[in-house]
Symmetry: D2
Subunit: 342 residues, 4 copies
């Protein structure tokens, strides 16, 4: 099998996870270059995964590195320049969510990829999770009938990094955490969101030293889809108790519940007062372990076979639109139509 | 043990359920009179449970019947007259939810009960469900910390009766089905709702011959509580797949999940393609079997010991307020403060 | 409804549980007399449940008490004299398991009840547990086909009382704890046991000061039924972790799993390292809460309607036979046919 | 990373599964040769996975093929010659369970591997299943205390092939299906089995045309370990309902339950009468998907780093000993000490 050469852009948490996945689980791809602006992280991650070619600049990497595709795992504001630059050099682009800061950036990224005939895949890995995939297929087959109501949640354990808490450098938790839900509800319902209403709350900001304007750590979004279906998304981050990503879809015929809190088929009872104990998914890499592997294998296959990835810039753009409308909603304390921001 | 004599008001579904519970499970109470405007139902239910004294009019029942308390299970618009009439005759009142059509009625009911020194208990039976009670106690004990976000759902299998589908004779599903959630979220969070936003949809009305104005069979409510906590309530009725009532509460320390869809600890696998099958709660009497018994036992004890019931008119009134604000929200397509209707 | 008057024989754990159930949940029965050889327990239990007529002797109770039936909850060696004495005075007999010490006693008890035309019901409450009942009905309906293999377990939390640990005054855990499994597997499979092989182990005896000969706290029984079906029963007592009673039946068409460890539909997560926590059934009264109520209601109905109880001396006798063969098996280290002891 | 070249011996079900795993998930190994006595299967599997070098004889493969290690997935009677032949040529050996037909063969295989300094890993993949591994680690850490009792089951959906049903060409289901349990209970308990008693039954043989002597499709084994712990293993094959592999371990402090029947975190309810439906593991490759990948990655690492695999011939030999004693037990209808066959 031909092996696709990859430049991993970003040597942080996601970069490490995906470099490790290429090394351990993906015969079809090999990380041959690593980019990060931080020298120590570059060294640390590079050594851990035996990546010799390390660069502190994307420009230099594109100039001197030997690779066919980039996997971009850096903070949101960098997505546009890094992906456009890579596309212009003919590299296929795998881009982490959220796609970009706004719709203009999304459009520019898509245009650059199209112009240069490179594939663009978005990092919505739920499309590659065995449970979500099975749910999707069974909904498509009509098992629960036309979707009427969908509920999705992503609750993450830890405090996001400073750039992700500030509405000037990211679009907050709705973007960084709940983009997945905006995408996944649209995917499952099979309809675009039409209206969103968002309530937010800040319960832990003070005690954790967050003073960013409009910071929130809890949110509930109310959605109306073009099909008439209703939706609800909850976001709690930091939730401390683990990583939690579940969905319920009610169709005209019935209900489907996707995912569960527990992280292992293991139950322990050693104390009658406490009761039974079961491991929880502690972090996202555990919950979506296989999905992270399969999304990259899919990207490799899309390149190898020259087929369009299942998750593209269009999906990324819709999620960004939902983020923008949702943010406007809580700031203006009213329901906002997506058409207002698109 | 002294036995409290009960007049069951309403010989329909709830009346039958509770008459049966008195007969089979509640030594402390005995149904000695039955009231219903429908002669056939009166006869049918009366014979089934051996209740000799049957009346088509509350006035006559109060005049001629021998009882200490009434259990009112009739449609919402009758709640005010029936309960006030009973209170005026010194009868203790157990009143099914929703308490009444509006806040004025609630106030009049409460005033009548107070004036006549009779107890008033509302039929929010979740306060007597073993799982909900345990959840409440553990939240009170601080196990998950201060509640930040609560999600509650009630999905019922069958089409509500005509009077319950029409905003002129009831307040629709938000009142008839989701009153329980408005009450239970307030109970668990320990704070009054402050603002509500409601999205509704009508997916099955046409095919089931419902042409009432503003009819909806799906709803998602977004709540903000006085404490700052957020909430979400979903209602689907008819949902067809069973009776579904669950809750999730996320506090500053962690998560609590209350209830489950399955109706028995029984799993069957006879076909690899289908997989495993587990009975579901088919109707509300199954899901809240013990709660329906325990709420009446509590009412009996409140009368016997002259103590204030755990669920009173105040709880009923808050749920009605939430219903009124929620209805206004979807009609006006904007978030509504409860203070606008109170 | 006519009320059956009950003499509760035994004021200990089971006596208290069942006296409480009559008082709170069973309108059809009233405990009007209490018997126990221990004055303090008699007083304690009598006062707790308002039972005025208290006796330290069954003879005196039968002579002076006013009751229609007895509920015998005393240690196994007392079962024969107490039940025969009661039957001779025309009292219906509800008898806790194990029925007796040996088959001769069983036969004498049954003969006495028959001779005096009184009903005899055995305390195998699993026949009244909603999950076990549903399993039985579905197996009878052919859902999983002919039973091929059944596994049943009862693990109890606490050290049994001294008389129950000694093979001279009881038949050990196989009788006191796992009688239920011997009965329930026979009931579900619909066939009598034919051969049994038992392995036992003593892990905690020393550290808990048990020096009875042949004491064991762990056992695994291997069963062959007359139908050709296989079975397995495990017993662990004290198991410390809670009360555990579950069953799995594999039929020619499929599998059925009955019961679960967890004691509430409540899940809590407050610590990522620990994971999720769910209450366990801590003791048998929690696990079989409804079954204990329903078995007594059934006894009341059998008396009221003069119908034969669903669980009789025949079931009790088969369980005793299984106990005797199983005990012989581990003592002689070989499989034992039930025909050897019957 | 250096890539280890593999000769896949056996082009059937397991051969295909593992060739596919190398291709899709294991960068460290590459199947460069394929051996099978059946030309059509050789062609079929070879083409499916792009393996050019195909051989109908192990001798020729060893002579002409280019590989470092063999993965032997052929029927049990072939294990000894194929593995010894490979070891003699210096190839590392991965050998599917059961290791061999008897202990002499086991000893010869181990001696050949040792003599030629090649690694020998047995295909007990449960040692690489995330849930089993976690259970093992937590037991080792003392969480449930010293194991007192272990229950393990493997129920498989389909009728085994003819050679596996005949005691002359295999050791029956105890070997082919329940070897895993014999191994896994020994692993978890941390003690060797000392005595075994086996009951068997034949429920489906006639209707499926099996007339082999001593054929059984249901079995229950009773175990006593050297440590004093007790054990139970159930085997049902064909069970039809799915693939089922679970374990429960009770230690002095508590219980641990490993594995579950359900194959996805997906629950569907579309019919109140049926209730909830959840996918089951349909076949073993689904249940142990990751374990099959991880056992081969471990084998690759053992070769690359020259370390002893976690599962060796010693484990394989103990399972064979358990099989021989268990078979003797049901044939002679008595408990058999493992020392009688070792």
């Amino acid at each position: 099998m031909s092996v696709t050469k990859i430049c991993m852009v970003g040597a942080g948490r996601v970069g490490k996870l995906q470099a490790g996945n290429f090394q351990r689980y993906i015969p079809g791809g090999e990380v041959t270059a690593l980019v990060d602006t931080s020298e120590p992280m570059l060294k640390d991650t590079g050594e851990q995964f035996g990546i010799e070619a390390r660069f502190t600049s994307m420009e230099v990497a594109l100039d001197k590195g030997d690779f066919d595709a980039v996997v971009i795992t850096t903070p949101t504001p960098t997505h546009k320049p890094l992906s456009i630059m890579s596309a212009e050099k003919g590299k296929h682009v795998f881009l982490e969510k959220p796609m970009a800061m706004n719709l203009e950036e999304c459009d520019q990224i898509m245009a650059a990829c199209e112009r240069n005939s490179v594939h663009l895949q978005l990092g919505f890995m739920r499309h590659f999770d065995p449970d979500f995939v099975l749910a999707y297929e069974r909904i498509q087959a009509g098992e629960i009938g036309e979707p009427m109501l969908v509920k999705s949640l992503t609750h993450g354990p830890g405090l996001p990094p400073p750039w992700a808490r500030d509405l000037r450098t990211s679009n907050g938790n709705l973007a960084e955490v709940n983009s997945h839900d905006l995408d996944a509800t649209r995917w499952m319902v099979g309809s675009n969101p039409k209206r969103i209403y968002l309530e937010v709350a800040n319960f832990k900001g003070d005690e954790r030293g967050v003073d960013a304007d409009h910071y929130y750590d809890n949110m509930i979004a109310n959605l109306k889809f073009e099909s008439g279906a209703l939706g609800s998304i909850s976001g709690v981050c930091p939730c401390d108790y683990g990583y939690d990503a579940r969905m319920e879809i009610i169709g005209k015929k019935g209900i489907m519940i996707v995912g569960e809190l527990k992280g292992h088929a293991l139950t322990v009872g050693v104390d009658r007062e406490t009761g039974l104990v079961t491991p929880i998914f502690q972090r996202w890499p555990q919950r979506f372990f296989l999905a992270y592997i399969h999304e990259l294998q899919h990207f490799m296959e899309s390149i190898r076979n020259d087929t369009i990835p299942k998750v593209t810039g269009i999906d990324g753009r819709w999620a960004v639109a939902g983020v923008l409308a949702g943010t406007k909603s809580f700031l203006e304390e009213r329901p906002v139509l997506l058409s207002e921001v698109m």
